[in-house]
């Protein structure tokens, strides 16, 4: 894999307040997103990141996804989000530091559009794989 096809996000420290705000905006109600006490009562290290929270690591980052767009010569206003999938392995909790890297797995041309298939691996401070994310981006002509 050529180096320009991989982007390393800056290791990201997961904050309780960030989880709470994200969960609240989506209307999530589960107390494990809001209360450290309740999360720990259920056996978690701290409040838990909701299912789509890994996207925060892509955007709230000193080396964010749009910087990778620049390197791929993708203009955000010409790019559509086609597909998104997550495979969950370990919980992400407040206090964790998550290192993520995104790789362009393949590029396909279809009907004058270009499809970019991205794979993002998220690892925690124990070097455990927490989430694998697949993203399809569609570059419009």
């Amino acid at each position: 894999m050529k180096e320009e096809m991989t982007h390393h996000y800056k290791p990201f420290e997961i904050e309780r307040g960030k989880i709470k705000t994200f969960a609240k905006v989506l209307g999530l109600k589960n107390s494990i997103y809001y209360s450290q006490e309740e999360a720990q009562r259920q056996g978690y290290r701290d409040v838990v990141a909701p299912p789509t929270f890994p996207t925060v690591i892509e955007y709230t980052n000193d080396r964010d996804l749009y910087q990778f767009f620049d390197r791929l010569q993708l203009h955000p206003e010409k790019v559509l989000h086609g597909e998104q999938s997550y495979e969950y392995y370990e919980e992400i909790c407040a206090g964790d530091t998550i290192s993520a890297k995104v790789t362009v797995e393949r590029i396909e041309e279809k009907r004058s559009m270009t499809f970019y298939y991205l794979k993002t691996m998220y690892r925690n401070q124990f070097n455990e794989l927490t989430v694998i994310c697949m993203t399809t981006l569609i570059k419009m002509p």
């Binding site: 994200f22 905006v25 056996g43 909701p50 789509t52 955000p76 206003e77 597909e83 392995y89 691996m121």
Partner: protein
Amino acid sequence: MSHKQYKVNLIQPIDLVQYAGASGDFNPVHTIPDAARKSGHPQPIAHGMYVMGLVSKALEEWYPKGKLLTFEVRFLSPTYSGEELIVTETMVTKTESDDFHGSIEVTSTHQQVKLKGTFELRGRGSLCTKRLEQNKMKEF
């Protein structure tokens, strides 16, 4: 059998502003009407990840103790502020190990399909979402 449904409140511009702040995705096409128009959209376009997040909210309503194992969506048409969405569970099966495998669809109240997706979920809130070790190994 009736399908589970979850109705999302009318999406307002402020919802997209709040989502932009919470996620860090400040692409102006999602929040600034002029930027949206310049890109050919009649209104600010909802972040795809916001709509996926609303699906996670629907799953939480239906499976309050559930833990997601996998979650995948295909975005089929854009969602704009001013639209009302309905999340529908179109199919679900329960496995021998009490997991649920299901399909979902998001439509507008005008019957436009916004996204389709699938999920696998552990029904009885086990502590970890650990999947089979062999499954994990093949990713290395």
